[in-house]
Symmetry: C2
Subunit: 169 residues, 2 copies
DNA sequence: TATTGTTATACTCTATAACTATA
DNA sequence: TATAGTTATAGAGTATAACAATA
């Protein structure tokens, strides 16, 4: 099931008529696969990737208003309501009224939230380890470095989250 | 807007509290971004990535039945109906009744379909070129080779298409 | 009765707009 | 009146189930 095992009638050649699938296609293929795997790994913990993104960003910006954090991760006010609701239901995040401006909430991680974040990070590390187990240490480093350069070139910082692009059309 | 320009109050340190975003996260980030870019590049041509996937697979399997091709790319019969409808409306694909079994259709690329496929491949090449413009030739090759190994390790062949996984749960 | 392709239906996701309470 | 957050509504996309024609 690794590559060309299917007995296909009469393929033109070994490769697909001379068309090379390059790193761009591979990035999409692998990105989709890895995202799906990560989602599955998170399932036992009762959260989804977007929750992880939110917890991560929140850990760096505790106390800021709901919509302010929404802007950071590229979610509109409506989406934030649902996401924060879900995290609050799980006891991972807390809304605290801002006494100075009673319209807004400050968002805070609970202890359970901090705990969850640590566990998810561990899951992510393990997942990545399994993913790169066939690579040598230097190869992993080189891969990471190359991907970092591509990401930086494309204006992606560690801040941005996969699913939600800051500005969309 | 490239990296750390936002004047944030008081980040704990330069990096995110010691948590390293590794290549797994980068793959998801980049895969999502590149897929979106590709979608935008295809817009002027009037098609979407899934159409490209279909055309590509069809070029290697002309004449086979609709559902057989659907299985190849991981789409169920219902999805195939809509996808083939869209491609037929655009004049890129043709359904031909199978005289031997009048229940099934054989799918074929039209000349316009072949033409479109060539143009989309050109777009993909250009896109990839722009994406990797900051890398040297050897770096690009190394990146591609490493990604290929990861993909192979994960059971991804050139056959599989990003969005649709062959077996899902 | 089983299979190919199609149509219908329900469910989820996302995006937009309308609403409330504070300012 | 403007803003933070919330709720309501509509559209797109996806998945499942029922259906018609042919074998």
């Amino acid at each position: 099931m690794t590559d060309g095992g299917d007995a296909r009638p009469a393929g033109p050649g070994r490769e697909h008529e001379g068309f090379e699938f390059g790193f761009a296609f591979l990035l999409v293929q692998l990105g989709t696969l890895v995202a799906g795997q990560f989602r599955e790994q998170l399932e036992p913990l009762g959260i989804e990737p977007r929750h992880f993104g939110m917890l991560t960003r929140l850990a760096q910006n505790e106390g800021r208003a709901q919509q302010a954090i929404g802007e950071l991760i590229g979610l509109n006010p409506t989406q934030m309501v649902f996401l924060v609701d879900e995290l609050e239901d799980r006891g991972l995040v807390e809304r605290r009224r801002n006494p100075a401006d009673r319209r807004s909430y400050g968002l805070y991680l609970t202890d359970a939230g901090r705990d969850m974040l640590a566990r998810v990070r561990a899951v992510a590390q393990t997942h990545q380890g399994a993913l790169g187990s066939s690579l040598t240490g230097p190869e992993r480093e080189q891969l990471t470095a190359l991907l970092r350069r591509l990401a930086a070139e494309q204006g992606l910082s560690g801040q941005s989250l996969p699913g939600a692009s800051p500005r969309r059309r």
